[in-house]
């Protein structure tokens, strides 16, 4: 191979460098795999209901706000809603101001504790947004097209 260094000692050095990078890569890979649960920012409702989330400890849940589940109190900042990963739902209660992007169908990450009755008491609610960017007209057009398709199927 013409790209490889011509001198033997340089070739050896190149080998050592590649070996070092591979070694560090494998080590870091194994550590991050072992710590996967700690690196993940949140648990999904399915994981929480399967008992994987820590009991009596603060943790984060993530998922979508189930459509039609948001109920706000008239007198206070109390709000309750379900977080869903489409397989399982988890009821959440929260008191406070929600981020602007919070709405039904939106992805959120909430921090808090699981109450004995299975309700997640959130102390912080963050909104996730997706990686798509488009003008409002384009979003509208997509919505209309989907509606059209749905009607056609019926």
């Amino acid at each position: 191979m013409p790209i490889l260094p011509k001198h033997a000692h340089r070739r050896k050095k190149l080998g050592l460098i590649l070996l070092m990078i591979t070694g560090v890569g494998v080590a870091v890979g194994m550590v991050t795999m072992a710590l996967k649960e700690n690196i993940n920012l949140f648990f999904s409702p399915s994981q929480v209901l399967a008992g994987e989330a820590p009991i009596n400890h603060t943790f984060r849940i993530g998922g979508m706000v189930r459509t039609g589940s948001v109920k706000r109190s008239d007198k206070s900042l109390d709000v309750n809603f379900d977080v869903t990963d489409t397989a399982k739902n988890l009821p959440v209660v929260y008191t406070g101001i929600l981020p602007d992007l919070f709405r039904e169908g939106q992805g959120i990450v909430a921090m808090g504790k699981l109450r004995d009755d299975g309700v997640f008491v959130a102390s912080e609610v963050l909104a996730k947004h997706d990686e798509t960017y488009m003008p409002p007209e384009a979003a509208e057009a997509i919505k209309n097209a989907q509606k059209m398709q749905a009607t056609l199927k019926e």
Partner: protein, 245 residues
């Protein structure tokens, strides 16, 4: 091709070539930044979900790309320096570090400012944000290590090893949003499965990305020229230059 490569390895040749290129690169950078910002902040439509707030993407994303790119340049130069003992490789690596650190810092700050209105928080310890912060520490560690060792040759070797070890972090940053669940959203541009950004928004973004690359090249050449003068101060050509000035 090889002749050019070998010539570029000579500090004297690099000094004069970079001196000629800097104004071209500088003006082109300026033109592209003006065009990119005008396109991004004025021409591009607002986002269906984030309204006007998404426009910080035109600084945030190019800066984050540069933070990864410059690190890869440093690591590559580190390997070249270790294997071929090429002086210019050391110069490029050491001159790149502060620029890379600045871009990383810019990516973190703009991301934080974007996070507050959209997510509801300036900072969260998710995999993407944390690994990018580690990248900043890698840059700072590189600069610290370099400053701590007086002998330029040993400093360059030590820094090259540090840069190469840190390379592991680069794929982690890129894939963090896929390997773990994070608050940070997934990849928008560097994907092939579907188009996730409207063309009218994408063009200014890519313009800014090229502008940032050219900015890096310009500042790198300026810094590397200074570094070359410092390292070669005892040679006849630098003394001649100094006598002329």
């Amino acid at each position: 091709m090889w002749l050019f490569y070998h010539k570029l390895g000579s500090p004297k040749y690099f000094y004069s070539l970079a001196g000629k290129l800097i104004p071209w690169f500088g003006w082109l950078t300026l033109a592209l930044i003006v065009a990119g910002l005008y396109g991004g902040l004025i021409l591009a439509p607002s986002d269906y979900q984030q309204g006007e707030s998404y426009r910080i993407i035109y600084l945030h994303v190019p800066a984050a790309w540069m933070s990864l790119f410059i690190y890869m340049v440093m690591a590559t130069c580190g390997a070249i320096g270790l294997i071929w003992k090429m002086k210019m490789a050391d110069v490029i690596a050491s001159s790149s570090a502060p620029i890379g650190a600045a871009f990383t810092f810019l990516a973190l700050v703009t991301g934080s400012l974007w996070g507050k209105p959209m997510w509801g928080t300036y900072w969260v310890w998710d995999a993407r944000l944390t690994s990018e912060l580690i990248l900043l520490f890698l840059y700072l560690g590189f600069m610290g290590l370099q400053a701590a060792i007086d002998d330029k040759r040993s400093a360059a070797n030590a820094c090259a090893v540090l840069a190469l070890v840190g390379v592991v972090n680069i794929p982690i940053i890129h894939y963090s949003v896929e390997w773990w669940n994070t608050l940070h959203q997934g990849t928008t541009v560097m994907r092939t499965d579907k188009k996730t950004m409207d063309t009218s928004m994408l063009i200014p973004l890519l313009t800014m990305a090229v502008a940032f690359k050219l900015y890096y090249a310009t500042v790198l050449m300026m810094r590397a020229r200074n570094e070359v003068l410092d390292r070669e101060r005892d040679t006849s050509w630098v003394k001649e230059l100094a006598a002329e000035a």
